[in-house]
Symmetry: C2
Subunit: 392 residues, 2 copies
């Protein structure tokens, strides 16, 4: 009798926000980067993708649903992840013939984000990390997260970093087949648990230029890009790892801000120029600079991915100073939660509050989060007994 | 009997807008640049400084008036120009003892701009070029504009290029004393007389960060800046000179846009980052890109100095195509003059006119001009018989 069982596994996976930015591929098919990068994984309490994977002999095709909408699975990125994970599963089955032949079945993937898609909030990173983690669990793979990062990276470059919690490096590697282009944990969240992140969501509209096409335009046309990739970033990677090991926030902050600025600089040095920052983003930069000026040292660090949203890293001990400045200008938007009561407006003496005015109209939501853990297995499945997404 | 005569000379001098940008000094006292630059001199019909210089034994101090307001003349830049020009005059007097001893007299300088000061419209370039040219005429100096450029450069770097009309290079030079950091004419205006410039004045407010402090912050903190100065610009200078020699507008346009973007990229790569472009500037870039896309080739080139104003270069033959797109969105502001009747709104088929919308609110004035001549001597003096500024 044929095995008609539906096998399932579910996981959640986090978003990560890079502090040394990934921008530029040396191999677009394998998503091999032109430089290493480093990120902080954010707490899944606030930002996560929840993904269930199922496979069964009765499934007639591969399917993928994102926020209940069917997605195209014929893309090379999804196909690469499916194929590579099946290869690992097939090896297990070959070694132990009693195992069900899951590698021969079609899969159904059902995925949900608790945040807006493609608004520069690293949704594809969490999405592909969750997809790879859920399939690896479904297939009972014993591979380490670093080994799986080789596969997640083929889905979306930065996804490889979302397979870990804490502080994560993606080492660019040099092999043509990408076998050494892998993510490794620099330090777990518990090493520096007080790292917080306040995200000012400036626009949840879809981006103008996708990261993939944008970064390749930069590689092709920027006169400054190679110098960044070959000279600037390697030194910054070492400095950033040292800052994290020593929990040196000032060094962390200064490297983070410089690298965000340089990433957007090479975007601007692209033909045609790519703009992700807008006037509200720039106002947020000035606010962070003013917070640091008044504090007499860098207690906050801004960074921007491929979008206008500002991510502000700070340490827990300075929360009152950071959020106290942001609150009076953003308290009308969602995301404050409990802190609407516990955080008090606090504009320090000598602070140029006029710099904050553009935040009032420009910020549509805040997300108050911090460093967090890597993917977590869950029993909560998004897939019903029929192998299709559960109704909401 | 003492000579109490008031000697005067008057000149007008043009603005220039660089297409290969000057940004960064290797010597801040002598204004020696880290890279060569190249500009187009704009017509004095539209933008000019008018300056009269006077000297007399009866003047008790050096004085400078800009737009009728007394200015500080104790600054090192003004003092350097006065001193260097006196040295040249003193040499003439030593060679011919019959000459009046103008080199021993105090000077009065009276200067007027026909455009807003310090709004990113290169007012200091025109101002120092006019000051040097007027004093050189007052002193009857026979030095060439290139020789005088050594002096004007000490007043304001880009002023050295405003001593010429047409297409002008400022060769960075290598000597420690700056003796080879000089401006030369690449081609006169008559070589390529059809070059036009439409300036969209986005804000006439004073700048946030002055060029002088901004460029040195870039030199000190940008990881990309040296690569630009040492590798990118030298190649672009040669390519730009060739484009001008051949009147190859497409090459001229692509180099101009790329270099403007790269200048603003190294500003963004500065700590703290320097922003001169705002959302209206970026909209203007998208409009120019769309004009070129619809034309199927680069018929317009944007460039931005240290401010948000957009300068769009184009050739006369394409005026209807360029201004026809701009007019419907900016016809309410001053600067259209005769062209308010002669230029007709013309949005080509397939043109994404939504890109132009931000110009409606964001552009406060247009200046429609073109390539022009260098400083011109004038009999119209701004200085009265008392040696003071004439009443308006």
């Amino acid at each position: 009798m044929a095995d008609s069982k539906i096998y399932t596994a579910s996981t959640t996976a986090p978003v990560n926000i890079a502090v040394i930015k990934y921008w530029g591929k040396r191999d677009t098919k394998l998503n091999l980067p032109t430089n290493s990068s480093l990120s902080v994984t954010l707490s899944q309490s606030d930002l996560r993708t929840h993904t269930s994977a199922a496979c069964s002999s009765i499934f007639t095709e591969n399917r993928l649903y994102l926020n209940r909408e069917p997605q195209d699975v014929s893309g090379a990125r999804q196909q690469a992840c499916f194929r590579e994970l099946r290869v690992l599963r097939a090896a297990l089955e070959a070694a132990d013939p009693t195992l069900p032949k899951l590698s021969t079945y079609n899969v159904h993937i059902v995925s949900e984000n608790n945040f807006p898609t493609a608004a520069g909030l690293a949704s594809s990173a969490a999405g592909f990390a969750a997809l790879v983690r859920a399939l690896a669990d479904l297939y009972c793979l014993q591979n380490t997260p670093t080994e799986l990062s080789r596969i997640a990276r083929q889905g979306s470059g930065s996804a490889c970093r979302s397979l870990f919690g804490g502080y994560v490096a993606w080492e660019q590697g040099h092999a043509a087949d990408g076998s050494d282009s892998l993510a490794v944990q620099v330090a777990p969240a518990s090493h520096w648990p007080g790292m917080r992140a306040a995200i000012l969501v400036v626009s949840a509209a879809k981006k103008d230029v996708s990261s993939t096409s944008g970064m390749q335009a930069t590689v092709a046309t920027s006169g400054l890009f190679r110098h960044r990739a070959e000279v600037v970033v390697p030194a910054r990677m070492e400095a950033m790892k040292a800052a994290i090991q020593k929990r040196n926030f000032e060094a962390f902050a200064e490297l983070t801000m410089a690298d965000s600025n340089q990433f957007h600089a090479v975007c601007l040095d692209t033909l045609p120029p790519i703009f992700y920052l807008n006037d509200v983003s720039r106002a947020a930069i000035r606010v962070v600079e003013e917070i640091n000026r008044v504090a007499g040292k860098s207690i906050a660090a801004y960074t921007f991915d491929a979008g206008p949203n500002c991510v502000i890293y700070y340490e827990q001990e300075n929360e009152a100073a950071i959020l106290g400045v942001l609150k009076p200008y953003t308290s009308g938007v969602s995301g404050w939660g409990d802190r609407r009561e516990t955080v008090h407006a606090r504009i320090p003496e000598g602070f140029n509050a006029a710099l904050c005015e553009p935040l009032k109209e420009g910020v549509s939501r805040v997300i108050l989060t911090g460093v967090g853990e890597g993917p977590v297995k869950t029993e909560e499945s998004l897939i019903g007994a029929d192998g299709l997404p559960l109704a909401l």
